[in-house]
Symmetry: C2
Subunit: 100 residues, 2 copies
């Protein structure tokens, strides 16, 4: 079942764009492992936050992605930029008007 992760990442002052650059770096392994959507964004009214919305084939695909070398490298590179504040929500989809 489709798994959705809608997260907010707190960012240290001045490092937001650097973090975005890491998160949007092309990584075809994500698609291969079951990532359908991975969007990264920022807003003017929350300058200390980066938003990430991911949609996966299922929760197992999401978990497996965290073991990928490219993802582990990105997490390590991003860690010093993070303020430690995390938010958002996750769920297994109950359905979609776009599917039977």
């Amino acid at each position: 079942m489709v798994f959705v992760n809608a997260g907010t990442l707190g960012v240290e002052p001045g490092r937001r764009d650097e973090l975005v650059e890491i998160l949007v770096a092309r990584n075809d392994a994500l698609t291969e492992i079951g990532c359908r959507i991975y969007e990264v964004g920022v807003t003017d009214d929350e300058p200390g936050t980066v938003y990430v919305v991911e949609v996966w084939d299922d929760a197992a695909a999401h978990r497996a992605s965290l073991e990928l070398p490219e993802v582990q490298a990105a997490i390590a590179a991003a860690r010093p930029m993070l303020s430690g504040e995390f938010g958002g929500f996750r769920f297994t989809s109950a359905g979609s008007p776009l599917r039977p």
Copy 2:
């Protein structure tokens, strides 16, 4: 540019599943108007909340969808089930590791 809406809907006690049913009702007009992803979900630890994550071709497609008769009918049907609490976040995507 891709537009993302990750929302939480507060639901009146006992009406959560009814609301999910309305939100997942098949509606091909959404895809035609630019909806890429529309996932609806619930979690055990937040029984009074329905989660909706939508990804659109752009913000204009999302706005236009609110004018669709099926969407207006769904909003009208859902209104009595809503507690009035809304949360989540929206953003225009800064990029994705799945795209160049």
